[in-house]
C-alpha cells in the first residue's frame, strides 16, 4: 500500500496530458503495452497502449489482429474497425453460444469512423472514437477514447460526449448527425449479463466466415485457432454461424433473427438489462411469445405506439418492434442507446420478415 502512494501523488501533480507516464513507457513502438492494459486506472491517451503501429491509418501493432462480424450492431452508419489482442501464448477459450472466454490482459478494440463519402469508403476517413474492452483481474473495463482533429491520438472520455458528424451516403446524399460517445454506464447498459460485464461481438456464430486478411482470405475461427488466439474451437463447419443480415441469398428468417440477436439480444435476454420486458431475442430463442410473436407490451409506455403486439404476424406496420426501430424519440426508440438515426436497411429487413410471418 505504502509503495503506491508516491505513484498516486506523482499522478496528482502532473498535468493531464503527461499522465500517461504513470505506466512505464512502452518497450518498442510496435508491441502492445501490457502494463498499461493492466493498470488500475485507464490511460488518458489511447496511444499509451500502443495498440496501433499507425493509429490514423488503423494499422495494428504486432499481435493485434483485425476481425469482423457477419452481422454487426448498427451505430448510426459508422464504419467499424475491430481488433483483438490476447497475451502471447494465452488463447481465448471457445464457447458455442456466448462470447469467447478471453484471458486477463486481452483487449478488444473497436474504432468508429466515417469516410467523407461512403461511395469511397477508403478515402478521407474521419476517426471518431475508439472503444476498448480490457479484460483485467477485476473484470472487463470499458473505455472510450475520442480522436483529436488531426487524428494523431485520442483522449479518454469518461462522461461521454456528443459531436457533430457528417458524411455523404451511398446514394450521394449529405447526412449529418449528433454522434453520441457513450459514458461508462451506458457501456454497461448493453454489456452486462447478470451482473457481469461481458463482450458482445466475438461469438462463434458471428465470426464464422471468411475474412480478407493481409495474408489472404481465411475463415476467422480457423485463423484464430491457427494463430494461437483461440483454443477448443471445432472446425468451422461444425461451429454455429449466422448470415449477413444484408445477404439477399440467405434465408430471410435467419437474417432477421441474426439482426435481432446482435442488435437487441444483449439486453433482451433473461440475463440482460431488458429482461423485465419478457421479450427475448437471442439467436436460439424458440418460445414464440418470448421472441415477440403476438406478445403484448409490458412497460413500453408510449413506446407501444398504440399497437397491441411486439410482432403482429403479417403486419409489420402494426408491430411495436417496427414502430420502435423506426423512431429516434428517446422515449420510444429501440435500441435505447447507440443510434440517433433509423437504420433503414435493417428496418426494411424486419418489415419483410414480419410481413411474411403467418
Amino acid at each position: 500500500m505504502r509503495a503506491l502512494l508516491p505513484i498516486i501523488l506523482y499522478l496528482l501533480v502532473l498535468p493531464f496530458g503527461a499522465s500517461s507516464v504513470a505506466v512505464a513507457a512502452p518497450p518498442s513502438a510496435t508491441t502492445v503495452n501490457e502494463a498499461a492494459l493492466l493498470a488500475a486506472r485507464p490511460a488518458r491517451k489511447l496511444s499509451t497502449y500502443n495498440l496501433f503501429r499507425d493509429g490514423k491509418a488503423q494499422v495494428p501493432s504486432d499481435g493485434v489482429h483485425p476481425y469482423d462480424l457477419a452481422t454487426p450492431l448498427f451505430t448510426d452508419y459508422a464504419h467499424k474497425y475491430r481488433f483483438m489482442y490476447v497475451p502471447e501464448g494465452q488463447p481465448a477459450a471457445y464457447t458455442e453460444r456466448e462470447s469467447f472466454e478471453f484471458p486477463v490482459g486481452s483487449v478488444l478494440v473497436k474504432t468508429f469512423a466515417y469516410p467523407a463519402d461512403f461511395r469511397e469508403p477508403d478515402k478521407d476517413i474521419r476517426l471518431v472514437e475508439t472503444r476498448l474492452l480490457i479484460h483485467q483481474e477485476k473484470g472487463w473495463q470499458a473505455w472510450a477514447y475520442v480522436w483529436n482533429e488531426d487524428m494523431t491520438d485520442a483522449d479518454l472520455k469518461v462522461a461521454g460526449k456528443t459531436l457533430p458528424v457528417s458524411w455523404i451516403d451511398e446514394t450521394g446524399e449529405a447526412r449529418a448527425i449528433q454522434y453520441v460517445v457513450p459514458n461508462r454506464n451506458q457501456c454497461k447498459g448493453c454489456h452486462v449479463i447478470g451482473h457481469t460485464f461481458s463482450p458482445i461481438g466475438p461469438k462463434a456464430r458471428n465470426l464464422n466466415f471468411s475474412y480478407e486478411y493481409d495474408s489472404g482470405a481465411e475463415n476467422q475461427l480457423a485463423y484464430w485457432s491457427a494463430h494461437g488466439l483461440l483454443t477448443g474451437a471445432p472446425a468451422p463447419e461444425e461451429a454455429p454461424s449466422v448470415p449477413r443480415y444484408d445477404d439477399p441469398a440467405a434465408d430471410l428468417n435467419a437474417r432477421a433473427r441474426a439482426y435481432l440477436d446482435v442488435n437487441c439480444a444483449h439486453c433482451h435476454r433473461a440475463e440482460g438489462p431488458g429482461s423485465t420486458s419478457g421479450l427475448f431475442l437471442t439467436w436460439w430463442e424458440t418460445g414464440k411469445t418470448a421472441w415477440g410473436y403476438k406478445k403484448r407490451p409490458v412497460a413500453a409506455g408510449r413506446g407501444s405506439g398504440g399497437l397491441m403486439y411486439d410482432i403482429e404476424p403479417g403486419k409489420a406496420d402494426q408491430s411495436i418492434l417496427v414502430y420502435r426501430l423506426n423512431s429516434t424519440d428517446p422515449g420510444v426508440m429501440m435500441p435505447e442507446v447507440g443510434r440517433t438515426t433509423v437504420h433503414e436497411e435493417g428496418l426494411a429487413l424486419l418489415k419483410d420478415w414480419i410481413n411474411g410471418l403467418e
Binding site: M1, L4, L5, I8, L9, L11, L12, V158, A159, G160, T162, Q178, V180, N183, R184, N185, Q186, K188, G189, V192, H195, A270, P273, S275, T276, G278, K288, T289, A290, K294, K295, R296, P297, V298, A299, A300, G301, R302, G303, S304, G305, G306, L307, M308, Y309, I320, D329, P330, G331, V332, M333, E336, V337, T340
Partner: protein
C-alpha cells in the same frame, strides 16, 4: 488506509475539477459550468459511501443520467428547489437509471423526461425520499410512462414523493420484492400507484387523486417474475380519480376505466383496508381477472384470497367508463356498486358454487356498502345465465395475513 482514502478522494476531485469539490464522503456539484457532465462524471467516479449533493437551481439535461456505484446518496435542496429538467433530452430512455445497490435519491425533482423518470433496475435496497417526478404540461399521451420506476428489485422504499402526469403509472413497482410505498402523492397520472408482479408490498398513507385509476395491484403473464402476492393497500386516500385515460393503447393500463379507485387484477393474498374511497365515477374497488388472451401455462389470471375490509366509501359508480360502462353497468345498473368482483373463477365447480374457502374473496365493510359479484363464469355455464349477486353478507369472513414489511434501509435509519 485513511491517508490513502483522502488521496483517492482528492484524485476524484482532481479528475472532475473544477466543478466538483470533495469533502470526505460528500461531493458537492456546484451550479454553473457543464452541470450535466459534472454530475454524470460524479455519478461514475464516486466511491461507495459518497453523498452527492446538488444545489438549488433549474438544470437542463440532453442525455440520461446513470448511476452504477453502490452505497450512494444523491440529495438535492428540496423537490421544488433542485430541478433536473429533461425537456431537451435526445438520448437515453429515462432521466436517471440506477443499477447499483443501496442507493437513496432524495429532495430533488425530475421533470419532463421523454421516457421514464427515475428507473432502478435489478437492485437491492433502493430508496426514493421526497422526490418529485412531473410532466409539467399535465396529462398527455406523449408523456413518459413511469415516474418512479423500480423493477426487478428488492427492498424498495418510496416515501414522501410526488408524481404527476405519467402516461402509465406515477409510481410503478414491477417484478420486485419487499416494498414500502407510503405517504406519497400521485396525481394526474393514468395509474397513480401500481404494484405489478411483485411480492410483499405495503402501500399506505398515500393520496392518489385525479388519476384515471388510483391504486392498481396487477399480475401479468409472460414475465420473468409472476405470481404477484402478499400486497396490503391501507389507509390511503383514493379520491376524485377523474382524468380520462391517456395511456397509449397496447399497454395494460390503457384498459383502466376513468374513475377507478383501487383495482386488483390477478394476484393472491391482497388486503385492502382502512382506505378513504370517494368520487370515483366507475367504482371504488374492482377485483378482476386478467382480461386478455395469453399464452403462458404457468400464469394464474385470477384474484385469489383477497380481503377487503373497513374502508370508508363515498360516492362511486355514477358515471362509469370503459369496461365498467360496457360490461359491468349493463348488469348492475348505475350507479355501479362501490365494490365489484367479476366472479371469474377456475372451473365449473367454482363457477357454480364459488371458489374454495381458502381461495375466495372476503369482504367486511360498513353497513350499506354496495357490492356485486358479476358471476361471469356461472353466467357462461348456465344455459339460462346468472345475474349478479349483490348480497355482500354472503362474502363475509376474514383472512389473517402477514405483518408489516420491514426493510434494511429503515433498520439502518433507526439505529443511527
Amino acid at each position: 488506509m485513511t491517508k490513502l482514502k483522502h488521496v483517492l478522494v482528492a484524485l476524484v476531485a482532481f479528475v472532475a475539477a473544477p466543478i466538483v469539490q470533495a469533502q470526505d464522503t460528500v461531493m458537492r456539484i456546484e451550479a454553473g459550468g457543464d452541470f450535466q457532465e459534472a454530475l454524470q462524471e460524479a455519478l461514475i467516479l464516486a466511491e461507495p459511501g459518497t453523498t452527492i449533493e446538488l444545489p438549488e437551481g433549474f438544470f437542463e439535461f440532453t442525455s440520461a443520467l446513470s448511476l452504477d456505484v453502490a452505497d450512494i446518496t444523491v440529495r438535492g435542496a428540496g423537490m421544488d428547489k433542485t430541478i433536473l429538467s429533461f425537456k431537451s433530452q435526445i438520448s437515453g430512455s429515462e432521466g436517471l437509471l440506477i443499477t447499483s445497490n443501496r442507493v437513496s435519491i432524495e429532495d430533488l425533482a425530475v421533470e419532463d423526461t421523454p421516457g421514464d423518470g427515475i428507473k432502478a433496475k435489478g437492485v437491492d435496497t433502493i430508496s426514493f425520499r421526497n422526490v418529485r417526478v412531473e410532466w409539467t404540461r399535465g396529462p398527455n399521451a406523449e408523456n413518459g410512462a413511469y415516474g418512479l420506476y423500480p423493477v426487478e428489485s428488492k427492498n424498495v422504499l418510496i416515501e414522501g414523493s410526488v408524481v404527476k402526469g405519467a402516461s402509465d403509472a406515477g409510481i410503478y413497482v414491477g417484478q420486485s420484492q419487499d416494498i414500502i410505498v407510503r405517504n406519497n402523492r400521485a396525481e394526474l397520472n393514468v395509474a397513480g400507484i401500481e404494484i405489478e408482479n411483485s411480492y410483499r408490498a405495503d402501500v399506505y398513507g398515500n393520496t392518489s387523486t385525479h388519476n384515471t385509476g388510483g391504486i392498481l395491484v396487477f399480475d401479468l403473464p409472460n414475465l420473468p417474475q409472476m405470481g404477484g402476492h402478499s400486497v396490503r393497500v391501507y389507509n390511503n386516500r383514493v379520491v376524485d380519480n377523474d382524468t380520462a385515460n391517456f395511456a397509449p393503447a397496447g399497454n395494460i393500463v390503457a384498459t383502466v376505466p376513468r374513475g377507478t379507485g383501487i383495482m386488483v387484477m390477478a394476484n393472491r393474498e391482497v388486503e385492502v383496508f382502512g382506505n378513504e374511497l370517494a368520487n370515483n365515477a366507475s367504482s371504488n374497488i374492482l377485483l378482476v381477472a386478467y382480461p386478455r388472451e395469453y399464452n403462458d401455462p404457468t400464469y394464474n389470471p385470477l384474484p385469489r384470497r383477497v380481503y377487503v375490509h373497513d374502508n370508508m366509501h363515498g360516492k362511486a359508480g355514477w358515471d362509469p367508463d370503459g369496461a365498467v360502462k360496457d360490461l359491468i353497468a349493463p348488469r348492475t345498473g348505475t350507479p355501479v356498486p362501490q365494490i365489484v368482483w367479476d366472479g371469474v373463477v377456475d372451473g365449473i365447480w367454482a363457477g357454480l358454487f364459488g371458489p374454495d374457502e381458502e381461495e375466495t374473496i372476503k369482504i367486511k365493510e360498513a353497513e350499506g356498502t354496495t357490492f356485486a359479484n358479476l358471476q361471469f363464469v356461472k353466467d357462461a355455464i348456465l344455459p339460462w345465465g346468472a345475474s349478479p349477486d349483490f348480497d355482500i353478507k354472503a362474502y363475509s369472513g376474514s383472512y389473517d395475513f402477514r405483518g408489516a414489511v420491514t426493510l434494511p434501509q429503515e433498520a439502518a435509519a433507526t439505529s443511527n
